[in-house]
Symmetry: C2
Subunit: 199 residues, 2 copies
């Protein structure tokens, strides 16, 4: 019996092709600097022409911004809070999921948080929107009078900065247990919301 014929690569449907290109792009942009990433190489890896790649993403920068946006969406989706009545347990589960993502996608995570080509306003907006979504999720679990103060917003921004800095430190060192970090981050969130509530 002859081996089954491999379907021609161009047969991928639009969504699948787009997802494939985003995954390849994310890997490339996370591993190398923007200038070093070659669109020719990426098209070759995907088995398509450069022209078809530009059909999906008109410019290299569009492609880059789309990969960062994809990473942000994946992070938010992976850490969607579980259905649990205990807010501390919900937080712990979300932090575990956050570190799972960081562990499995260290380079894209670092690229997202460090802002990639930092002066790019669209990328900055993606990163800011991601933080805003996390702040909304935390606020949703807090009593209304506290949740809406500027002091709480500042404290939650600070806490997200804490989480991101600890996650980047963990990528670099891996010398503190994830359980310890999760407890540290949970305690810090409780401490900073309490402090902001009395500010």
């Amino acid at each position: 019996m002859p081996p089954p014929k491999k379907p021609p690569r161009a047969r991928l449907d639009v969504d699948t092709r787009r997802a494939q290109l985003l995954a390849l792009g994310l890997e490339a942009f996370a591993a190398r600097s923007y200038d070093e990433v070659s669109i020719d190489d990426l098209a070759r890896s995907a088995g398509i022409s450069k022209g078809l790649l530009f059909h999906y993403f008109p410019t290299k920068r569009d492609f880059y911004v789309a990969t960062i946006r994809g990473a942000a969406r994946a992070l938010l989706a992976a850490t969607f809070p579980a259905d649990n009545d205990d807010p501390l347990e919900r937080l712990r589960t979300a932090l575990d999921a956050y570190f799972d993502y960081v562990e499995g996608h260290a380079a894209p995570y670092a690229a997202l948080i460090r802002g990639g080509i930092g002066s790019d306003p669209e990328v900055a907006r993606v990163v800011e929107d991601t933080r805003a979504e996390y702040i909304e999720r935390i606020r949703a679990g807090l009593p209304a009078p506290i949740a809406s103060t500027p002091a709480l917003r500042a404290a939650l921004r600070g806490w997200l900065g804490f989480v991101e800095a600890v996650a980047l430190d963990w990528i670099d060192h891996h010398d503190v247990s994830r359980a310890s970090l999760r407890e540290l981050l949970s305690q810090m969130l409780v401490a900073c919301t309490t402090a902001a509530a009395s500010a």
Copy 2:
């Protein structure tokens, strides 16, 4: 009486000229994206030739990295801890100085912390060195057995992330008093070193 003759600008000594160029460059790179900054315009503002500017900084990127390094040094110098036996008072004074710097140099501060053209490894190193110097300063005030653990390093990295995120939030909003933020940040440092000590 004829007006006093303006001294020719080229008379500035090397250090003064360098400082003048760094100040001009910092302002320009903080206000506009890297690509939008024109070396011709900068040389014109300084009243010197482009050739002389390149004598001080051989390439645009060298110039950019030097301005970021200058901003980092200025921040570290402005926040050098005062001579005070009470560690909490020392911390409060340093945080006041930090926010004075942020208030007086919002654009360069944001450029430094957001990493400017983020994928530039030299700029990333300047930012990392600045954070490492702050961690050393804090560690110097802590008892030796706590000061050297990986858990404390991770916690202090986190706290710096907290400080930076709060400072950027403050630049954007200015709706929380500096005294409240200083207390929040002091409490967070105490909370995270305590948590790390028992991790």
